[in-house]
């Protein structure tokens, strides 16, 4: 899966996902990716988020929505991502997944669980080029 969030020069925010899902899924199975709030979510007044991992679990917790709402409460993108991931882990300790979170001011963060670490790719004017960044998982 790719999950992507973006803010353009006018401050407009968007989010999206694209995936071919889980290997050897039962025919007809759909993961979290196409579900707003699960695979991705965007609210122009707050920010956006996009999640990746075990979609059968993630769609039960709406992690992208939760991360955006956590930022609405004043949290940083990184902490908002951790809140969303930890909510899932509290029910599913074996959960594998990650989330990228973007605030409307351009600050961003990420969180993950069940992986050695998580890499995501970002570009803004400050970085000047596409940069792969890594976060340690919670």
């Amino acid at each position: 899966t790719i999950g992507m969030v973006a803010i353009d020069a006018a401050g407009r925010i968007a989010a999206g996902t694209s995936t071919n899902g889980a290997k050897f899924k039962i025919a007809g199975r759909v993961g979290d990716s196409p579900i707003p709030g699960a695979g991705a979510y965007a609210d122009g007044t707050v920010g956006a988020a996009a999640a990746t991992g075990d979609g059968d679990v993630m769609m039960r917790f709406l992690p992208s929505y939760l991360a955006v709402e956590e930022m609405r409460r004043g949290s940083s993108p990184s902490y908002a991502g951790e809140v969303a991931i930890k909510r899932i882990v509290s029910y599913y300790p074996e959960f594998v997944g990650a989330i990228v979170v973007l605030k409307s001011d351009g600050n961003y963060g990420a969180a993950c669980h069940g992986l050695p670490s998580f890499q995501f790719s970002v570009c803004n004017s400050q970085l000047g080029q596409v940069t792969v960044q890594t976060v340690e998982c919670v």
């Binding site: 899966t1 790719i2 992507m4 969030v5 803010i7 353009d8 020069a9 407009r12 925010i13 968007a14 989010a15 999206g16 996902t17 694209s18 995936t19 071919n20 899902g21 889980a22 290997k23 025919a27 007809g28 199975r29 993961g31 979290d32 990716s33 196409p34 707003p36 695979g39 991705a40 979510y41 965007a42 609210d43 122009g44 956006a48 996009a50 990746t52 991992g53 075990d54 979609g55 599913y92 074996e94 959960f95 594998v96 997944g97 989330i99 990228v100 973007l102 001011d105 351009g106 992986l115 890499q119 995501f120 790719s121 970002v122 570009c123 803004n124 004017s125 400050q126 596409v130 792969v132």
Partner: protein
Amino acid sequence: GSMIPVVINTWPFTNATQNAWNTIYFKKKSALDAVEKGCTTCEYEQCDGTVGYGGSPDENGETTLDAMIMDGMTMNVGAVAALRRVKSAISVARHVLEHTEHSMLVGDQATAFAISMGFKEETLETNASQEIWEQWKESSCQPNFWVNVKPDPTKFCGPYKPDTNIARKQGNNPKQRSVFSDKNHD
């Protein structure tokens, strides 16, 4: 300031990020355009085999696609799920967003919508995806996503029937293990 515009995507799919950045920064297009372009890049490049055609075959060997795009300014959404035989899933989702009042179309009906919007119908299977599927069948269909069925899904292929005795004994327990990883994910 310099923190905006910005594009971020899950995993180190740098060509997707670059194309999204080119769209939003150099071409001065919208965030929606950037997200569509970035995801389209991965669909074309089959990023890690987890995006686009020719990856993640289902139990029948078929590749299907899910995609969604959301406009954070209007809260409008377009999505497709279990899209069959059309490669450009995120662009079909963009058409759902822009040309319907719905949020999600699924399966063969999503395919029919895509064709009506001018998208090409073609197979999503490749020799590589069929090879992955054949190897899975030769490995007694392991791993799979069945529980509480017979024959034992941890040892045998289907077809499966409900095993009510097991269901009564084990209940509907949460997953104890995950087959998901950095190369198999939604």
